[in-house]
């Protein structure tokens, strides 16, 4: 495997803009490139996450290529998903050896329609979507299942909202922020029982862009790259009435594949537009809220730029490596109704980490050597099995 790292990030978010999506994209992509010290022509691969339904324009991603300076032709791709999945594709592209650097961007313009209704069009088109629920109705169904089971409380949900708004102070991409007491939040009406106003995300228009690079390219672009040590995504059955809404099995599976339990996580950015979702994902990932800072950016709850908010979680987590404030972090992204699909990305600051061999072998750290196969014959929990190609 090649070592791949996030080397720079950039964001924008506002409640509503009159700009075209392209006009919003360009300055953010520029900012990410400037932060990485890369020229456009030095980018080997571009990957974009967006959704035509959000803009009401079939193949809208084709016009987004206009933002890239695509002549002479560039190598680019697109996922009809949050940009976090575009990052996964770019990571794979770099693993193939076809690219050393990539720019990933996700964008959405939530202000142009009732996005809570649009997002519910992801439901089964035969027996669920024709009923016309919105995303808030579905979120309420999931929240109540967890509330009834005693897994979470309304106070827990309000605490997520209060902490998110407090942490969002100073984040220019946050659309709501400030000190608010949990008791005040709980005194609010249940606008969509069981959800109160504070449980529902604030939608935004904007972009997140991320530059990733491999091996020496990453080292040359930034002093402390955020090395992607593990990345995986899993999906649950589509229909919400037929799956475990509390346990979020796909998040559990993705976390296991990433070897999440193999060490402390300093910062976790969890893509949870609704308050109960953060609680359920935290639980599914086995995170200890005492040891791990959850969503220090304020999260998607305070700035839900559709198709960018998941990539933004990876970016925000990476930023705490880039600025030296954390050593091992997690970015999480979700798609589909009620946390159907979950992506986990573990990043570390250490460039030359000891590889923790699973306890069934022993807990001794092993040092990987350039050009040699990983000494562990079994899945080590941190990197996929395979040849490790490290710097000499």
């Amino acid at each position: 495997m090649r070592e791949v790292a996030v080397v720079s990030t950039a964001h924008s978010a506002v409640a509503a803009t009159t700009e075209t999506p392209i006009e919003t994209l360009i300055p953010v992509i520029d900012a990410a490139l400037v932060a990485a010290g890369l020229e456009r022509r030095q980018v080997d691969f571009w990957c974009h996450g967006s959704c035509d339904y959000l803009v009401g324009q079939p193949f809208s991603f084709v016009s987004a290529v206009d933002a890239l300076g695509a002549w002479p032709p560039i190598v680019e791709s697109h996922v009809e998903m949050d940009g976090a999945w575009a990052l996964y594709e770019a990571w794979l592209k770099i693993q193939t050896g076809e690219a050393d650097t990539a720019v990933i961007f996700g964008n959405g313009k939530s202000s142009v329609a009732n996005m809570f209704r649009v997002m519910a069009l992801q439901l089964d088109p035969y027996v669920e979507a024709p009923l016309g629920p919105d995303q808030i109705a579905l979120a309420g169904l999931q929240a109540r299942v967890a509330l009834d089971a005693g897994v979470i409380t309304e106070r827990d949900m309000a605490e997520v909202a209060a902490r998110s708004r407090r942490d969002a102070v100073g984040n220019p991409a946050a659309l709501v922020s400030g000190e608010v007491s949990v008791d005040d939040l709980l005194a609010g009406d249940k606008v969509r029982d069981p959800l109160r106003h504070h449980d529902i995300p604030v939608m935004g228009d904007g972009v997140t862009a991320v530059v990733i690079a491999a091996d020496d390219a990453a080292r040359s672009l930034t002093a402390r790259p955020a090395w992607i040590r593990a990345i995986d995504h899993r999906i649950d059955a589509q229909r919400i009435g037929g799956r475990d809404l509390i346990g979020v099995p796909s998040a559990v599976a993705a976390a296991a594949r990433c070897g999440l339990g193999a060490g402390r996580i300093d910062v976790a950015e969890i893509h949870a537009p609704f308050t109960h979702e953060e609680l359920l994902v935290t639980r599914a990932l086995g995170l200890d809220a005492g040891a791990t800072r959850i969503n220090p950016s304020g999260g998607a709850l305070v700035s839900n730029v559709l198709m960018a908010a998941g990539l933004a979680r990876i970016a925000r987590a990476a930023e705490s490596i880039l600025d030296g404030s954390a050593d091992r972090v997690l970015g999480h992204a979700t798609q589909g109704p009620c946390l159907q699909q979950n992506l986990v990305c573990v990043m570390e600051g250490a460039c030359w980490v000891p590889c923790v061999v699973p306890s069934s072998v022993s807990a001794r750290p092993t040092t990987r050597v350039a050009g040699q196969t990983c000494p562990s014959p079994v899945w080590c929990g941190r990197l996929p099995i395979g040849r490790l190609r490290m710097r000499a």
């Binding site: 009159t18 329609a113 035969y126 024709p130």
Partner: protein, 167 residues
């Protein structure tokens, strides 16, 4: 129920979404110009190409935002390529044969599509000079339909080498 229902083979599942679209300030300058009978493009600050219309407000070659200043182009232009439409189709507004042309307005660096009339289709050629025919001003809106069509201007043809870079 007394009567068994027929087997369900197909269902109707119509969906609709109402959007509020915005053109952005750069394309809006073009739309506003049309209300005043002006053809306004924008210049790329990087490569200096003039875009008409300034679609999405950016230069797709350079990937940069177009400048703020308006650049008035046309009104006359040059046919760079064209297509003779002989085939009738549902919803057709004009009786075939007619000519859909790519017209490079004077001062612009990218051609735009419009209708070419008041000329026999057999006489249309690359390099032909054309001028716009405007609809009555009372009917104007922020749309290129303010120009009903182009027609030959009578100016001498332009040599291919003069527009080869804008094809």
């Amino acid at each position: 129920m007394s009567n068994e229902a027929e087997d369900v083979l197909r269902i109707r599942t119509p969906i609709g979404v109402e959007y509020a679209w915005s053109a952005g300030t750069r394309s809006s300058a073009y739309l506003n110009g049309l209300l005043e009978g002006k053809l306004l493009g924008k210049r790329c600050p990087s490569c200096s190409r003039v875009y008409f219309p300034p679609r999405n407000g950016n230069c797709p070659m350079c990937g940069v935002l177009l400048g703020d200043d308006d650049v008035e182009v046309g009104p006359n232009g040059t046919v760079t390529t064209f297509c003779v439409v002989n085939v009738p189709f549902l919803g057709q507004k004009i009786t075939p044969p007619y000519v859909a042309a790519t017209i490079l307005l004077d001062g612009a660096d990218i051609g735009m599509q419009h209708l070419l009339q008041e000329v026999d289709a057999a006489d249309v050629r690359m390099g032909m000079r054309v001028e716009p025919v405007w609809a009555p001003r009372d009917n104007w809106g922020p749309t290129m339909e303010n120009i009903t069509h182009f027609r030959p201007s009578g100016e001498p043809d332009v040599d291919y080498s003069d527009y080869a870079g804008q094809l």
